[in-house]
Amino acid sequence: MDASVLFLIGTLALWVGGYQVLRGSFLALRAFLIEPDFARQAVLNKSALAAGSGAGLMLLSLIIPKDLGRKVEATQWIPLVWIYTPIAGWMILISAFMVVAKLIQWRTALTPSEATEKLKQIGVWAVIGFLGFVWLQHMKWEIQILRGALPFNPTGLIAFVALALATVWLMVMADRFVRSRGAATKLATHAVLLVGCFIFGVPFAWMLSTSFKEERDIANADGLVWVPKVQFTHPFDDPERPYVEAIYDGRPVRALVDSDLGDGRLLLDIERPFALRGRRFEAREQDTKKLLRDQFVWETELNGKPVVAFTVRDQEDGSRLLRVLNEVPLTGAVQAEAGQEFTRKPEEVEPHRRTGLRWENYTDAMEWMPLEANYGLRYLQNTLTLVIMSVIGTVISCALVAYGFSRLRFPGRNQLFSVMLATMMLPGAVTMLPSFLIFRQLGWIDTLLPLWVPAFFAGAFNVFLLRQFFSTIPMELEEAARIDGCSYWRTFWQVMLPQVKPALAAISIWTFMGAWNNFMGPLIYISSPENMPLAYALQLFSGDRGGDAQLMMAFATMTVMPVVLLFFFAQRYFIEGVQLSGLGGR
């Protein structure tokens, strides 16, 4: 028979067979877990039929020439994917599944005799599985995912469509044959949800993974790196270029000694923090403190033998002076050439690495931030100022105004309230420019004030939400307080405000988020690093270090983390907040 026909039949058989085996297994599980005794046998029969036919079909798939998929050559192909494994593989899979199923049955058995029966069955399946294991071992684990293809031409297309239709039809038939009720749906739901979680979670995972990677792993032509690795370092003091700690401009810095200027004065070349890197200054020797420098450890070869060595220093001609380590890190293997020094070009050495997280990306990112930002703490502080003031302002002012609008009667109340509602329609764009001029007149440009002061003057949407809330509180409560002689202020503060706490929490959270994320405001108003909040600083950071994805992602993680933490602690309020603001419009 023609190879491509075999291929078609085999693929079809594998797809349908796999589906049937899975379905048979579900049925068996269901029969034992859910069905009452009298119905169990019928379902079990169906299960056996499905699994049996499925297994048979899958066996049929073995007719496919094994490496057909990789031999085909053409420009355009329709892909077909299947798993190739000898029967041994299926033996292990099926027996593993059966063992689990029987275990459950054993635990849920009604009578002791039934339990022993199940135990025996477990034994049998385990033996089958073990045999499969030995067999597969013998075959050197020949499990492959093969990529086959159909030529992309009318014949190929028709074949593919026919194949797909036939599969669907067969599956539908099989479905009718053995209809399942609840368990499968639930499993399917969970499967879909888990896939969804995976898709939604991958970006976070990638962000974290990137933020812990070494720079050399950021781009990789042989497939991207998910698991970060770090290079070993070796603390070392190079007598020719001492590494010292000193004070520069009131800040502690670590620097290399460039040269000795005589009379106890040294010319220092700053290494860290990065924001000062490359600056040189003079310091008195007594003001400096010697440090060991963490030098990188490399793998290379010496006299034809692989060795592990660390950098002693980078040399003027671009090569590296290396010294063989006494022991290989982690394994502790002793090296015969220990202590030998030799020179290698950068391309002749490979980093000696282990799997691990490069936390230094976070400190590096902080060191790269401008000096005025004080390692980014200043950004955080600005953001916190912004957030705290906005939340306080919004809560106080909105509560006051909402109370006034909902519970107090005064002339013009309704008209004013409609005016307020109307302002909700007004886009921020309209007032953006004149507001800038107002703040300019006040001399508030390049301060945080324009970003939080308006919060003290009640935003329409929040007032509207709170007013709805106030309106649901029974009048009697307020009247009772009034009769007891409470002033308006006390009624508001002691009686009414506690009643709307959930709404206040929701509003606080939204204000918090809004202030934390505010980007356009700082973009317009802030121009000095010492006044920048985090979100805007991140954008500026990308201008300086945007090429270093690991630093960018470390900074981004630092911006995201506080919000995520807050979410975990105040999840309830977040969710109530969404429901309130969304359903409020209903």
Binding site: F492, M520, D544
Partner: protein, 816 residues
């Protein structure tokens, strides 16, 4: 729980206070030195030279401390600088792209440096004077008799050609009558060489390009200058882009693209370009490129395998053979130069100190100090040092002496570049320089893509530039308005109105007015009243006034009547259509997709599955991630380079191999930039899920029970019960979504790195257009008028939605 929250807040406040106190201490203990703020420069780990120059300055001027900041992605962000100048918090010095100087000068935003030069030229040998500089470069920094910056660097363009490739193709070149041992010298030769050297795959895609007219750095300017073209009349009042010299130059570019199978084909090819060792010129994917001197060091460091020779860029045939209108032309080869300048913005607090710094940094002494210390660092790292061409003649001569005597291709290239400096032309000095540049880029794209003939493309660009010119030139026509008057009247009227209204209310209000309650009521709502008046009503009135004015804050306002609206609808109609089309695209695709995603998740979660808390958190988290971080994260995931970007790396080993579809360029290409935005939005669709979940829970189960008894299938139940019951929520979300999309800003700003337009205007949004006009050009009047246009559109869309709503939104009447 409550106690902890209090404690945490208290601790945070205390810490904030602590940091403040610490900062105060720092500044108190420091010596009283003048802090000189410089924008547009920063020192990276690879720039030793600049830092040493600055330190040397500080050593010579112990009273000054220099503070450098880059401010903005890439080059000086014009918006930031303009806002700082207008907001009276300007830096002391800016490093500014030289060709934009006239723009700033015309707005009165920079200080004229001529008086400083006149004062110091006889006393201070460091003083820069015109004789020390190339004439054209100096001219570029001048505007209307003033000098607005001291030139610092000068990049010019020459032809780099891969002589190894030429040799390999020698037979084919000879067969075409071309000499494989020399580069093309004329335009027609360039095309002929390109034709031979270009290789196409069977499917028409490029395997190698001989010459890509606008890849590298030539633009239309170079070809026009070579053709004796000009963009402005000498009186700077008229834009003359349509002159036939420019048209011929643009035609040359179009012809160059034709050889490559059109600009789209070339762009597809360019999308696969990589840097470093795989630089397309270094690995022979491109045979000839016209580019600037910055490439020398880059080739030396990152693409040591690049083999090239340099020559002056080819010129029009007539020019080379001295025929026709070039018969009396003296110079055969021509190039164009750009570069930077140090300027002092208006409002700088330390002008004298700034001038001292500029004198130092532009001097030959400091340039050579920078070069030697940079060279030392580079050599210690095993790199070759190539200085950048300078604007200062003596400095360049010293560079030739010190760094370009060898025979290497790099030194030869530097010699070619410096040798061309005397023949360098510069872009015209006009206050519309940025617009001229932007429009000329647009014209190249239009013509090369075949969307317009060169003549039409240039005409369109010329019209737009002329508009901007006219606006400024016709300024005198419009009467100056003293803003204090209208402001006083507006404030007075508002106050009077308020008082009158309150009085009227008190008098004619409902009978049972309780005066103490009234007083309390007004007190309670007073925060809103004040806020409304100051932050909403006042700005609204101001915005209405501005809409009829031309006002840039730095200069007096002028009354222009309806001209702002005319500009919006007539002159900028194209860009606006594009912006609103982009919004419509995002809305019609993004909002439904977002709704469906959120609803689908909610439906799944509503089936009483176990572990709902976990799933809810997982789906919800992305929506609370700060927007800036989200955009950067997605830009990283969608990085077009398959060896970096997560998405495209998966694509490259799956879809590319199976279907031979290349991964898209996402936010870097026109077709995919908006889908990228939608994609990012979908990630946050989990926020809506919570809402849907609440809505679903609110649907009475009796409805479903009744339906199942009647035998309705789950699908029928969904369309018959669930959807109608949710329709008010859907409606609310659609309305809010539309308003939100119309105000898209943050993501676009970040994704485009602040250029706010995206590839071929594909990300231009109404609010970004407004922001650019408002805070980049400070066209307060135009921007205010435009804000009202946006408002009107929001109103119309919302109105339509409310009109259509009764047909599909189902309200439970008896519920309320």
């Amino acid at each position: 729980m409550k106690r902890y929250v209090g404690l945490v807040v208290a601790a945070l406040v205390a810490w904030s206070g602590g940091v403040y106190a610490q900062t105060v201490n720092d500044s108190a203990s420091a010596k009283p030195r003048t802090v000189l703020t410089i924008w547009g420069v920063s020192v990276g780990p690879d720039d030793k030279g600049l830092d040493d120059v600055v330190r040397e300055f500080e050593r010579r001027n112990p009273d000054i401390k220099v503070r450098m900041a880059k401010m903005g992605a890439g080059e000086m962000n014009p918006q930031k600088l303009m806002t700082a100048i207008v907001g009276n918090v300007a830096p002391d010095i800016v490093r500014q792209d030289r060709f934009t100087l006239s723009d700033w000068a015309s707005r009165n935003a920079f200080v004229d440096l001529n008086p400083f030069i006149a004062r110091d030229r006889d006393t201070d040998p460091l003083t820069p004077t015109p004789e020390q500089y190339y004439d054209s470069v100096w001219q570029e920094a001048s505007f209307a008799g003033g000098l607005y910056g001291i030139p610092i660097a000068a990049d010019n363009r020459v032809l780099y050609w891969n002589h190894v490739l030429f040799e390999r193709k020698a037979n084919e070149l000879r067969a075409a009558g071309l000499d494989p041992t020399r580069p093309p010298r004329t335009w027609s030769e360039t095309l002929a060489y390109s034709k031979v050297l270009t290789e196409l795959r069977p499917d028409g895609s490029l395997k190698r390009a001989g010459f890509i007219p606008n890849w590298g750095n030539s633009w239309l300017y170079l070809y026009s200058f070579q053709n004796n073209g000009r963009f402005m009349t000498p009186d700077r009042r008229t834009c003359v882009m349509t002159e036939k010299e420019n048209e011929e130059a643009l035609q040359f570019m179009v012809d160059g693209y034709k050889i490559l199978g059109g600009m789209e084909n070339a762009e597809k090819f360019q999308a696969g370009f990589r840097g470093g060792e795989n630089h397309p010129f270094a690995n022979g994917q491109v045979a000839m490129v016209i580019t600037g001197d910055w490439e020398i060091a880059s080739f030396a460091r990152y693409s040591p395998n690049a083999r090239f020779k340099t020559a002056p860029a080819p010129v029009p045939d007539d020019r080379f053979f001295k025929r026709g209108r070039f018969a009396n032309e003296k110079d055969t080869f021509i190039t164009w130069a750009g570069g930077f300048a140090f300027s002092i913005p208006r409002g700088a607090r330390h002008k004298e100190e700034a001038w001292r710094f500029i004198k130092w940094i532009s001097s030959k002494e400091s340039r050579l100090l920078q070069a030697s210390s940079q060279a030392k660092l580079d050599r210690s790292r095993g790199r070759r040092f190539i200085p950048r061409v300078d604007a200062h003649i003596a400095t360049n001569e010293a560079y030739l002496e010190l760094y370009a005597k060898g025979a290497s291709q790099y030194e030869e290239a530097l010699r070619t570049h410096i040798g061309m400096m005397p023949f360098a032309q510069v872009r015209p000095q006009t206050f519309a320089a940025q617009v001229l540049w932007d429009e000329h880029v647009r014209a190249i794209e239009q013509a090369s893509r075949g969307k317009a003939t060169p003549a039409d493309a240039l005409k369109e660009a010329q019209t737009r530039v002329q508009n901007v010119l006219n606006q400024e030139l016709e300024k005198e026509k419009y009467p100056v308005v003293d803003l204090r008057g209208p402001v006083a009247v507006a404030v007075g009227a508002t106050l009077l109105g308020l008082i009158g209204w309150v009085a009227w209310m008190l008098k004619n209000g409902t009978g049972r007015v309780n005066s103490s309650e009234t007083r309390a009521g007004y007190l309670f709502i007073s925060p809103w009243i004040i806020g409304f008046t100051v932050f909403t009503l006042g700005p609204m009135v101001a915005s209405v006034l501005f809409a009829f004015m031309q006002y840039d804050v730095l200069n007096e306002a002028r009354y222009v009547g309806l001209r702002n609206f005319q500009d919006i609808f007539q002159k900028d109609g194209q860009i606006l259509l594009k912006a609103f089309w982009n919004v419509a695209y995002l809305a019609t695709l993004g909002i439904p997709l977002g709704l469906v995603t959120g609803l689908a998740i909610a439906l799944l979660l509503n089936t009483n599955v176990k572990g709902i808390a976990f799933y809810r958190t997982a789906f919800y988290l992305p929506s609370i991630t700060p927007a800036v971080a989200t955009v950067f994260l997605w830009m990283w995931i969608l990085n077009p380079d398959p060896v970096r970007g997560l998405f495209n790396s998966v694509w490259a080993v799956t879809l590319s191999q199976w279907f031979a579809i290349n991964p898209p360029g996402w936010f870097t290409v026109e077709a995919w930039s908006k889908p990228t935005l939608i994609f990012m939005g979908l990630w946050g669709a989990g926020g809506g899920m919570i809402l849907w979940l609440a809505g679903l829970k609110g649907i009475s189960s009796t409805l479903y029970e009744a339906a199942s008894i009647d035998g309705a299938s789950p699908v029928k139940q969904f369309f018959g019960i669930t959807l109608p019951q949710l329709s008010p929520l859907i409606f609310f979300n659609v309305v809010m979504g539309c308003i939100g999309v119309l105000q898209t800003f943050d993501s676009v700003y970040i994704m485009t790195g602040g250029n706010n337009r995206g590839p071929n205007d594909s990300l231009a949004m109404p609010v970004t257009h407004l922001f650019d006009n408002g805070f980049r050009y400070f066209r307060m009047g135009y921007a205010s008028a435009f804000a009202w246009v946006i408002f009107a559109i929001i109103l119309i869309i919302t109105f339509i939605q409310f009109k259509v709503a009764p047909r599909w939104v189902h309200y439970e009447v008896d519920k309320k």
